[in-house]
């Protein structure tokens, strides 16, 4: 196209051609407006699904938006060298987001994982880890107040040993909440709606392979408590917006736990989704719809889809299908910051 444009320029394009090009340009602007601008200003209530996929090549990881009114997909953050996007956590498409990236380092010889606070409105990126320069950076989640975050970092001496950290993005205050032993690591930390408690999964090696526990800890790093023991097979979990319930993938399927009395209900047993598997990743409980949103992968063709179900086990619905890449995070966001 650029070559053609250059040739046309050298031929001193005529006025008529100019008019045609103007018409084409106007059509492109209208298309762009209809696809991106109008849906965002229109859909205040239904929100959108924000998800990320892991690509099959370096720098192919991207974030996408699935409009829950039109069910149209659009690229939110398209990965390309020198940076791609493996996980995004936010409350709205215009508010701050915690983004885990894969990016080429300054000397251009190594690709590393970096965590950023991204402002979509101003298109600004601020590195989260300004205090432990040698740490290996993981992924994380934005807190309910839109300013505190929980995320994972690993010491280079134990590169698999990711631990949970807390930070206030406004003041820069930060603290390490958990400590892992050699051969274990923490993943998918999430702050409860009151900001006082952090839920996370601890994976650790055993003689038979990798095992896991569901744990919680106060956001000041005290009272680490076991929510689900090792034999439960926790893969990923999230708090309900009310902070009283937890959705969790276990050996039984997708379960809803009530923290106060320990009551459990399997809302989606494994035997009802035969032919599907999960890859441990963030799942999300949408307050707008009161639905638990999660990815599933079809074993036969490795295609990912996004599904949701009510906390009572009703309305098990496929929202989107045919994604030829691993979904690494999924959440429901508002179209605009409240």
């Amino acid at each position: 196209m650029c070559l053609l444009a250059g040739q046309l320029l050298s031929l001193r394009a005529s006025y008529k051609l100019g008019l045609w090009l103007a018409l084409l340009g106007a059509s492109a602007v209208i298309l762009w407006y209809r696809s991106f601008v109008r849906p965002i200003s229109r859909n205040q209530s239904k929100g959108a699904i924000l998800y990320t996929t892991v690509g099959e090549h370096p720098f192919e990881d991207s974030a996408f938006v699935l409009d829950l009114e039109t069910f149209k997909k659009s690229t939110f953050l398209g990965g390309k060298s020198p940076r791609s996007y493996v996980s995004v956590s936010g409350k709205s498409l215009t508010g701050p987001m915690l983004v885990a990236t894969r990016e080429l380092n300054e000397s251009g010889d190594k690709v590393t994982s970096r965590l950023y606070l991204f402002d979509p409105t101003g298109q600004t990126w601020h590195a989260v880890n300004t205090f432990k320069s040698d740490a290996l950076e993981g992924e994380g989640a934005l807190g309910p107040d839109g300013r505190t975050i929980v995320f994972t970092l690993a010491d280079p001496a134990n590169p698999a040993g990711y631990e949970v950290w807390w930070a206030d993005t406004l003041t820069g205050a930060h603290r390490k909440l958990t400590t892992v032993e050699l051969g274990s690591w923490d993943a998918f930390p999430q702050l409860r709606s009151d900001g006082q408690e952090v839920l996370f999964v601890r994976f650790y090696r055993t003689r038979g392979g990798i095992s896991s526990k569901l744990l919680s800890i106060s956001s000041i790093g005290e009272r680490e408590a076991v929510v689900l023991e090792e034999n439960e097979g926790t893969a990923s979990a999230c708090y309900a917006p009310d902070g009283k319930h937890i959705a969790v993938w276990t050996k039984n399927g997708l379960e809803v736990l009530t923290e106060s009395d320990g009551a459990r209900k399997v809302v989606l047993p494994w035997n009802s989704i035969l032919g599907f598997k999960i890859t441990a990743s963030r799942i999300f409980w949408s307050g707008i719809h009161d639905r638990i949103v999660f990815p599933l992968v079809k074993s036969s063709n490795k295609q990912y889809g996004i599904w949701w179900i009510s906390p009572e086990g009703q309305d098990f619905t496929r929202l989107y299908n045919g994604i030829n890449a691993q979904i690494s995070s999924v959440s429901v966001v508002g179209m605009q910051d409240q």
């Binding site: 690509g55 099959e56 190594k110 896991s212 441990a280």
Partner: protein
């Protein structure tokens, strides 16, 4: 005569501006990067057979076995460590070639040990997925 020349100049200028705008709309940008080798390390959860897990902290070593032309990238060997989501990227690894990729899980899951994969990497690059089944 002078007016005619001015008018012609104006038309040409307008056309150039429109062409540039059109070019920007259609995106006269370089095509998306598609090359290199990505290593992805995974494992199944023992207590939840329906779930697989990305494993970080796995050492990966690549050695080019057979090169063909044309190709992208110039690195004929690499060494790294998988990070978040079990990924390690080698964007400058030579493509259109056969590679041997060795993954060493011993730092994370001792029982998985070391595995070797021979992969034919096309010119556009590839992903090498290493899964430890215990």
């Amino acid at each position: 005569m002078r007016y005619q020349a001015y008018s012609q100049w104006k038309r040409s200028a307008l056309s150039i501006v429109l062409l540039i705008a059109f070019g920007i709309i259609l995106g006269c940008s370089p095509p998306a990067f598609k090359s290199g080798i990505r290593v992805h390390t995974t494992e199944a959860l023992t207590t939840s057979p329906g779930a697989s897990l990305d494993v970080s902290g796995v050492t990966d070593v690549g050695q080019l076995l057979l090169a063909r032309d044309p190709h992208n990238g110039s690195e004929q060997a690499f060494e790294g460590l998988t990070g978040v989501f079990g990924l390690d990227d080698h964007p400058n690894a030579q493509t259109n070639a056969s590679w041997q990729v060795s993954v060493d899980y011993s730092r994370v899951i001792f029982e998985c040990g070391t595995g070797h994969i021979v992969e034919d990497v096309p010119i556009g690059g590839a992903i090498v997925v290493a899964t430890c089944f215990l």
